[in-house]
């Protein structure tokens, strides 16, 4: 009996597949639209996933805690001496000073992120995130050196030159030499970045001696980050204490929000597709009616016809799902998710060009599957039932 049921399923599946092949022109349109819908959904999902993963990877080496001074709800410079009350807190491994700010380049409309660090990047917990493709990071002992990304180099139109100038607030010029280039894999954070000596950054932004924009705290035991962050807040009233987890959560919230907005837009496309599928499945042609009636007269049950229709819909939708997902994968991995990248990364002049490598997550596959294949199967179920109830004697 079980063998017969399996045999029935295989026979009807075989018939359904050959039937799809015969009606390739009719099903081709649905297949293309279905593939496109899955492609859009999956691309969006994969870009979102890849960006979140990239942020997670890069931020894994970010400072454990960042301390900033607030005044009237805005960030202001923090005195280097603020390190002193923090030093006795048990569990703090190291406290570094950092100057961090934006530099707007009027000549090309680009906004650079400037970070001034006190020491060689590789030596400090706060700077490990800046992997270099070539050269080195600026050192404390030498002034006028920067490490930049390839994007920034292009924006500055440096070509093979290493030297360039930036304007101080009083419009006098500060000269810099490029000594290092960030690795493309860190572009999510370094696309618009210039890292320089702390003294150079203070000079460029005209920040008073003894002040920095933030303090970077390294903690010996990662489990104690939250506790130490709370103690820092208590020691430095009016400060803003940001943990690495909070930054990561912010990234996730931003990506999830944008992903959600995008999904809402794509749901509209899906709804339109489902209506199309319903419409197509509902409209039985004269030939299709005749075929159903002949099959029923020859002893096919209504359930056999429904199974046939289900097999057709499932085969078509699975094929479109696999094609769409593969196309989305190629789009994200090889073309960097070009269609959706601006939505996630904003429309800055300098966009990160890092490569995306989304992991194949079962949850992502299931989500796209349940938002594409399942609605399609549901949309075609009722028309399939209606087709299956065509009267056998209608052919006589």
């Amino acid at each position: 009996m079980t063998g017969n049921r399996l045999g029935r399923l295989l026979n009807i599946l075989d018939y359904a597949l050959s039937s799809l092949g015969r009606k390739s022109l009719k099903n081709g349109g649905v297949f293309i639209i279905f593939t496109l819908v899955v492609f859009l959904f999956a691309s969006f999902q994969l870009v979102s996933r890849a960006l979140t993963e990239a942020a997670q990877t890069v931020l894994a080496t970010a400072p454990d805690i960042t301390v900033q001074q607030m005044s009237a709800g805005r960030q202001v410079s923090i005195a280097s001496s603020a390190k002193i009350p923090l030093a006795p807190i048990f569990g703090i491994k190291k406290i570094e000073e950092r100057i961090w700010g934006y530099y707007f380049d009027e000549s090309n409309g680009a906004n650079y992120t400037i970070i001034g660090l006190p020491a060689r990047a590789g030596d400090s917990g706060g700077t490990q995130l800046f992997g270099l493709a070539e050269g080195r990071l600026p050192v404390a002992s030498e002034r006028g050196q920067v490490a930049i990304s390839d994007n920034v180099r292009r924006q500055l139109q440096l070509g093979n030159r290493k030297h360039f100038s930036l304007f101080r607030p009083d419009l006098s010029q500060a000269s810099f030499a490029t000594v290092g280039l960030f690795a493309p894999k860190t572009e999510i954070l370094t696309a618009d970045l210039m890292v320089m000596n702390l003294a150079d950054a203070r000079d460029l932004f005209a920040i008073a001696d003894g002040f920095v924009t933030d303090l970077l705290v390294s903690v010996a035991n990662p489990n104690e980050i939250e506790t130490i962050a709370r103690k820092i807040s208590e020691k430095l009233p009016g400060s803003r204490v940001i943990t690495r987890n909070q930054i990561l959560k912010t990234y996730k919230v931003v990506f999830n929000r944008r992903s959600g907005l995008g999904t809402v837009c794509l749901l509209t496309a899906l709804a339109a597709f489902v209506i199309l599928a319903w419409d197509k499945a509902s409209g039985l042609s004269r030939e299709e009616r005749k075929e159903v009636a002949i099959l029923k007269i020859l002893g096919w049950q209504t359930s056999d016809i429904m199974l046939l229709r289900f097999c057709e819909s499932l085969s078509l939708s699975l094929l479109a799902f696999i094609s769409g997902y593969l196309l989305a994968w190629v789009h994200v991995v090889f073309w960097g998710g070009a269609l959706f990248r601006p939505i996630f990364l904003g429309w800055s002049v300098i966009r990160p060009v890092f490569s995306l490598a989304p992991p194949l997550a079962a949850s992502d596959l299931l989500l796209v599957f349940s938002l594409s294949v399942v609605p399609y199967l549901c949309a075609t179920a009722v028309p399939a039932w209606r087709a299956a109830t065509v009267r056998a004697d209608s052919v006589i």
Partner: protein
């Protein structure tokens, strides 16, 4: 074990679109039997109720009232699922217009009734090949049905009706589109099925059919009632 009378209709009435403005009474209190291994011809003008009668015998639908027993199974008031099952087990239908699926080959058309039974491709082909051989169609096995002549198509239709080895064969105007020679061939084939022990019911205007030596009875139907039954030659 099959009963002596494979077809038993008692006061059977069939009404289409009952209770609606377009209600049609196709059969009125019809009673007759067809014995096992008997070949009968149903005659009558268009709209007389021949096809409805054949559809009832072929388990395509149940009567509106009355009692219909086909192959020992009472089909009156049976749900569609059981009717389909009995249709598959008890009857093979040969149509006036052949009713082939044009996009399939001869072999595929013949094996269509076997697909929902879960019969393996190998067994399906073996069964079909035997019938193709029997009806001299082996050379047309993989042809599209659109490439066949009328006579060949009707032979394919008979082969398809036999693929499930049913005890009753129902044929609706099987010679309507054939010339005299081909008509005779087709009726001979149907008669040979009777010789194999099957019951054959044919609806036809064709004198070649009604005059065939194997024909046991001729049932004359008009306006949904049986006018008379005559013995065959």
């Amino acid at each position: 074990m099959m009963p002596d009378n494979l077809v038993e209709l008692q006061a059977v009435t069939k009404i289409y679109n009952q209770g609606q403005a377009n209600e049609v009474i196709a059969l009125k209190q019809v009673s007759f039997t067809v014995a096992r291994n008997e070949m009968v011809c149903v005659q009558g003008p268009s709209g007389s109720g021949k096809t409805t009668l054949l559809s009832l015998i072929g388990c395509i639908f149940a009567p509106t009232s009355g009692r219909a027993t086909i192959g020992g199974k009472k089909i009156s008031r049976l749900p569609d699922h059981f009717l389909t099952r009995y249709r598959r087990e008890l009857t093979g239908f040969v149509f006036q217009h052949y009713n082939m699926l044009d996009h399939l080959t001869v072999l595929e058309n013949i094996t269509l009734p076997l697909l929902p039974l879960g019969i393996s491709p190998g067994d399906r082909v073996r069964k079909a090949d035997r019938l193709l051989e029997k009806f001299g169609l082996s050379h047309r096995r993989n042809f599209s049905v659109t490439q066949l002549s009328g006579g060949e198509l009707q032979r394919v239709a008979i082969a398809r009706a036999l693929i499930n080895d049913p005890p009753i064969i129902v044929a609706d105007e099987p010679t309507a589109h054939l010339d005299g020679k081909l008509s005779r061939e087709v009726v001979d084939m149907l008669a040979s099925l009777r010789d194999e022990g099957r019951t054959v019911v044919i609806a036809s205007h064709d004198p070649i059919v009604s005059a065939h030596p194997a024909m046991a009875r001729i049932i004359e139907v008009r306006d949904g009632i049986i006018l008379h039954q005559l013995s065959g030659r």
